[in-house]
């Protein structure tokens, strides 16, 4: 870095002035790198090193007692995939459903805040963020109470015969909501909704309201204005929101743990069990890497399709 500062021939200036100016200029050029340094160090210690460590763990063999050794055994990956593919599939399915629900709930909400809320805008924004004031665990546990057997919600759904339909689809079990796929998807949707709403709001809020007027002036009815102007211009928000929802939801295990049953285990639960209960570190590490790969593939396909490459 300092060499680049020295390669340029110094301008033919009086010696004293040049001596004074040069270190200042060099410091100026270094500033961006110095500002990067803390973040880079943080990433190195808490991201790069753990990833490398886990990568080496995933190709080790051995036992807890005898110790592990790197043997480059890639069969761990295929074995893990062969055994746990249903949980992978379930994770993608649950996270995908939750993301879709977040989009369906979040888009109208973000639209309302951006264009219609007027002076209520800040209040609604605070309400969207308010859940973050309590911990993730507490919020999820609260859903356990909300969806409890014989609780008001379950009773209401039962009376309205909604549960008959969801049970028919295999989403609920008899008169129970808790410990079913529906409960897990509800929990995921609830917990990740703000991650959808905030980027959507940001991209919607940036749209110049005059564009709506211009479209209306050019014979577009309100629905067409939305389809041809608002929606395309909010696509960066849709992409960012779905990524921010899908990625953590795919790796989540708290919702499945607290609101689900053994039949709703997601890949996050398997990784957690392998690490903390079974203590099979290589399998757990391999599963983590497969999850990362699955998500990376899904995300890049998604970004390619939504045509917002400049986002990443």
């Amino acid at each position: 870095m300092s060499s680049t500062a020295l390669t340029g021939p110094p301008p033919p200036a009086p010696a004293a002035a040049a001596e004074e100016a040069a270190p200042a200029r060099r410091r100026g050029r270094l500033t961006p790198y110095l500002l990067l340094l803390p973040g880079l160090l943080w990433l190195l210690v808490f991201f790069v090193l753990p990833v490398v460590y886990q990568a080496s763990t995933s190709v080790q063999t051995g036992s807890l007692e005898a110790g592990y050794e790197v043997t480059w055994r890639f069969a761990t990956y295929t074995e893990a995939l062969a055994e746990y593919w249903p949980q992978f599939l379930r994770s993608v399915l649950y996270a995908g459903t939750a993301t879709a629900l977040c989009l369906l709930l979040g888009y109208p909400l973000a639209y309302l805040i951006a264009f219609r809320a007027g002076r209520w805008r800040n209040l609604i924004m605070i309400l969207v963020i308010a859940p973050f004031f309590t911990s993730f665990l507490v919020r999820t546990l609260a859903w356990k109470t909300i969806l409890a057997d014989g609780g008001a919600v379950v009773d209401a759904l039962n009376t309205l015969h909604v549960l008959d339909v969801t049970a028919g689809l295999g989403l609920t079990d008899g008169e129970r909501v808790l410990a079913t796929p529906l409960a897990v998807v509800c929990g995921l949707t609830y917990n990740f909704l703000p991650f959808m709403v905030l980027p959507l709001y940001t991209s919607l809020e940036r749209i110049d309201p005059r564009l709506h007027e211009a479209a209306a002036d050019l014979y577009a009815r309100p629905a067409t204005v939305f389809r041809k102007v608002t929606l395309p211009l909010s696509m960066p928000g849709v992409t960012a929101g779905t990524l921010l929802t899908f990625i953590p939801a795919g790796g989540d295990y708290v919702n499945a743990d607290l609101l689900g049953s053994t039949d709703t285990r997601m890949i996050g639960n398997v990784v957690q069990t392998q690490f903390l209960r079974v203590l099979d570190y290589p399998t757990a590490a391999a599963l983590s890497f497969i999850l990362m790969a699955v998500i990376l593939v899904a995300v890049s396909v998604h970004i390619r399709r939504s045509g917002t490459e400049d986002l990443v």
Binding site: R206, D208, P209, R210, L211, E213, A214, A215, A216, D217, L218, Y219, A220, R221, T224, K228, V229, P232, L233
Partner: protein, 424 residues
């Protein structure tokens, strides 16, 4: 789409395409942006609504476009009442302030937008022709942000004109351009209007722009039309002090009627007498009535007091002292203080410059009596005098985003509009 063809189809041929505003007004809570207003814009004319920030001109335009609902009154296009029609059903298109081009569409699709919404199948030829008309043929596949301000402006015009609206509304279309480009675009717009023959209604705060382009100018002030007429007529015969000061510069002198005789009013001002043609006095002129006597600075001349004898008889004279002389190349601008009034302006062509006409010189300011006009003295003599304000204030006024907000609609500072502009 069906509705658009219906609405454009309802007007039978030959019933005229005049825009008629009858008693339309717009109020936001306690604030009246536009007082009940009657206005007829003849078909095919280039009509300018001229006024300072916050005078209600943009609100008027938006009511014609359907983007703003009038509090009272009606809007007719030809024989069709469009007062309650939403904007997408009106045969009217707008060139927005700062253009509002769709950033996600290229130039071609921006221009094709209106045609596609109306279900036109083959837009290619029409769009190409329109882009050629505004000389943007080779930029069809650029995105708006890749164009210069002048090019964006032309895309906005093309996007509106391609729909062959009955009326084209232009909301400060040249406000964002620099002076040279603005001059060129003024002529360009005038050329396009002559070529397509569509009625143009043009909102501007720039009096020079209004006078250059429009056949008819309506000068608006505080939600009312002060005066309406051809540019030269407005300039020569202003009816109010606002028009006299806002359109160019006027020297206004407070005076009292001494006598009326033979089509001429004689007034006393600052110890001297002045003559005004009775036909050019827009106020009652009985003896003793107070008037504001005016003359345009380019019609007045200066002569040194020592040589006052050379001034032909029958001209109005005011004696005074030069306080300021600014050399402007083609002309020199003098300011003269006299007993009749302070800061009287004189623009003298630099044909034979007299170096003795310098600050401190005793002079006689004189002009042809026929060039004198007189106004009612019961109005603010300073009304419409242009104050120096930041250029952005005029541009962000009445930004559509803020127009619906009663608290902000009247403000001319444009803080709300400024934020929106920065965001866009």
């Amino acid at each position: 789409m069906r509705d658009v063809t219906e609405t454009t189809g309802t007007t039978a041929p030959g019933d005229g395409g005049d825009v008629r505003l009858s008693g339309i007004s717009r109020t936001y809570g306690d604030f009246t942006a536009v007082h009940p207003l009657d206005l007829t814009v003849p078909e095919g004319s280039f009509f300018a609504l001229l006024g300072a920030s916050g005078c209600g001109k943009t609100t008027t335009l938006r009511m014609i476009a359907g983007l703003e609902e009038p509090s009272s009154g009606s809007v007719h296009l030809g024989r069709q009442d469009v007062t309650r029609l939403p904007p997408y059903k009106r045969p009217v298109n707008t060139v927005f302030q700062s253009y509002a081009l769709f950033p996600h569409l290229d130039v071609f699709e921006n221009v094709a937008f209106g045609l596609r919404r109306r279900g036109v199948r083959s837009v290619r030829k029409q769009v190409r022709d329109m882009l050629d008309l505004v000389q943007l043929g080779e930029h069809a596949h650029r995105k708006p942000h890749q164009l210069s301000g002048g090019q964006q402006q032309r895309v906005a015009v093309a996007r509106a004109l391609i729909n062959h609206p009955k009326v084209l509304l232009l909301d400060e279309p040249l406000g964002a351009l620099d002076l040279k480009l603005r001059r060129r675009m003024q002529l360009e717009l005038k050329r396009i209007q002559t070529e397509v023959g569509i009625t143009f209604i043009h909102v501007t705060h720039d009096q020079e722009e209004a006078m250059t382009m429009a056949d008819t100018v309506a000068v608006m002030n505080a939600g009312r039309v002060e005066q309406l007429g051809a540019p030269a007529d407005l300039y020569e015969n202003p009816a109010t002090t606002f028009v006299a000061n806002f359109l160019g510069t006027s020297n206004l002198i407070e005076a009292e009627v001494a006598s009326t005789a033979g089509g001429e009013i004689l007034v006393r001002a600052g110890g001297g007498g002045l003559g005004v043609p009775a036909g050019r006095c827009s106020a009652p002129a009985g003896t003793g009535a107070r008037l504001l006597v005016g003359v345009r600075p380019e019609k007045a001349a200066l002569t040194l007091a020592d040589e006052a004898g050379r001034i032909p008889d029958g001209r109005n004279r005011v004696t005074g002292v030069i306080t300021e002389a600014s050399f402007l190349g083609v002309s020199t601008q003098y300011l003269v203080d006299s007993p009749a009034g302070k800061g009287l302006a004189v623009y003298a062509q630099n044909v034979d410059r007299d170096p003795r006409l310098a600050p401190g010189a005793q002079v006689v300011l004189h002009w042809d009596r026929a060039h004198t006009f007189a106004l009612d003295a019961a109005q603010d003599i300073e009304a419409g005098v242009e104050r120096v304000e930041p250029a952005t204030a005029a541009r962000t006024e009445e930004a559509p985003g803020t127009a619906g907000n009663p608290a902000r609609a009247g403000s001319t500072g444009g803080t709300g509009g400024g934020v929106k502009e920065a965001a866009g």
